[in-house]
Symmetry: C2
Subunit: 375 residues, 2 copies
Amino acid sequence: MSNKIVQKRLVTLQDVAREAGVSKATAARVLGSYGTASPEMKEKVLNAARVLGYQPNELARSMTTGRSRTIGVIVGDIENPYFGQAVRGISEVASAAGFDVILANSGEEVGREQAAVQVLLGKRVDGLIITPASMSDIQHLEAVQRSGRALVLLDRAIPKLKVDSVITDDKAAAALATRMLIEAGHRRIAYITATASDDPIYRGPQQISLTTVMDRINGFLAASAAVGIKHPEQYIRLGASRQGASGRIIADLLSMPHRPTAILASDNVVGLEVFKVIRNLGMSIPADLSLIAFHDADWTSVTSPPITVISQPVYNLGVESAQILIKRITGAVGAPKRLVLATELIERQSVGAPPAPQDDEKKVKSRPVAKAVAG
Amino acid sequence: MSNKIVQKRLVTLQDVAREAGVSKATAARVLGSYGTASPEMKEKVLNAARVLGYQPNELARSMTTGRSRTIGVIVGDIENPYFGQAVRGISEVASAAGFDVILANSGEEVGREQAAVQVLLGKRVDGLIITPASMSDIQHLEAVQRSGRALVLLDRAIPKLKVDSVITDDKAAAALATRMLIEAGHRRIAYITATASDDPIYRGPQQISLTTVMDRINGFLAASAAVGIKHPEQYIRLGASRQGASGRIIADLLSMPHRPTAILASDNVVGLEVFKVIRNLGMSIPADLSLIAFHDADWTSVTSPPITVISQPVYNLGVESAQILIKRITGAVGAPKRLVLATELIERQSVGAPPAPQDDEKKVKSRPVAKAVAG
DNA sequence: TTGACAAATGAGACCGGTCTCAAATAGCAT
DNA sequence: ATGCTATTTGAGACCGGTCTCATTTGTCAA
């Protein structure tokens, strides 16, 4: 990591002033569009600037004004189209309001998130929009607040932190999806999430570090309990992140003696993974297994069958959070807002009745699995 | 767009120096890790910094050093996973080398690209990685070079501009895909691209503003000509951008008297659009129509049938461009490099023989297609 | 004609760092 | 003890803007 950086000397305000034969202050007034200046002065200065190819140094500008007209955005994974859409929403609002956006990636790791916060605060962003990687490790977020910079949480809330947040109604959404599966006749429903965990088995809330995940699990459990399903939590699986463990987790789940007959996939990446595993196992959707996934990713509408999804207003999540942030930056005061956007269940064709008539719970004599696996 | 921005005064180097009872210069040496300082001084300063919660102002730092350790990236569309992957490649190389990334979106419009360049140069980025929206409108890129800042083009070259670029072998890739379709028996092959155009019909190279598009069309035409296909260009269609026109364009194409029997889709967004239209038309792939798409997007592997694609090393495109850029920033000199990465044809199941025995060109009596299609 | 006031302009401080340079101190050989 | 060099420290200029304040010029009413 060499440090030698070569950079040509650029045209400064002073240069322009000299060329135009006016003082630095006058040139600054014209070029910075503030204060007063006579038409002739403007003419001269603008001309000189054009001739020299002057370009203001925003760094210097920000340094004196104390504001950078820049907002920092930290997301879990830029590559995930989910965040891509949110970022587009943010960008559009920001640039319409004359703000620039600096984007950073946390890879869903608190450490990298902290580093990113440092960097962005160092660059003196006027505010931050963050998709926090954890709801417990939050000193760096408190530091943001202490520094007086605006902060908005996107997609995930942090109960302990009094801060504006824009989220979706995860609990309601999960409950709705669960009810839909229950109404189709399912009693053994699996819930699979990517949330990092050493242990794929769900043992309790203390394993979960994200409100989204917790809320969804709660919605799932509540809807299950409402119809008297016993131990719905036994089919919850964690850590189905990226290619790695997910295949095994899902395969294990499906080879249980009382295997689940439906799966709720907690995000589109997991959903895609689940879909592939199911297909590789030679099972068919929804005949053998029903599937509902979070996030209306583009792939979900072109599979056979297309997948029933919980569509999240993620573009609007971006828009709203940027609007709130910019209001704060420009002086809005008041208690932190928590904006909850509604989700929508888009019915497609991945939900059907559970496969065989099969005794549930108690005195079940499990019969041999009939399915042929094609390979 | 209000301008009032409230910001608490932050802890400065001067404050730390005062607290530690040393000079500003000494505090700066300790906190900036340069020059020399005795252990006791370090101790005192570090302690004071911790107590006050000091955080260096990178703006001020950049201003004096003249370098910001930041690189600007301008892509056509953040939301497109294609660019998402490239950006990840860039980010990883950049942060490993201690550089930050500022991301901007051009929406594939030259005007917005120019504005973004202004903004980023204003923020004094040390270098830029750009996916240029046009190969002809390039004054702003020449301005970047004149300013002495490093510049690397990603994915698309600009022949007139002497500048480092990292691209893929588009012509070869298109030719390979075309040959594959030809070998499967196709003679009427459509090429559909998203490139903006008022007129969806291809009339000549002057309509095309991107090397990628041009190269691919050339590869397509060359491979077609090589086996004596007459007027292959009649099936080229432009402007199939986003939801808008694409549906009509594709439907028109397929309702021609001698409709094409295969389609080459120029990127994954167009490919997805094509897939949906085909399905809505009730046609089946590959029985009625074969399809090959550029970019191995995730949806292509889960459709029925999965789509044969030209896989582009887009993550590596990002990695390589960032490496070249950083080398330039840190002083590397020499003629501009043009790095061409290889693509790969991933065969899946969307290519088959053309459908019905149907007279082709002149008096060819095409023989019945032997392949059985399982559906 | 003169005074009062508004508009235009310039001089220079300032933002928060880096970095040069000179002064102060320490270490060591003679 | 003395001189010489190496190390540590502080003072202050500088980066390129913004912005305050004083000065100059112009306008108009009394």
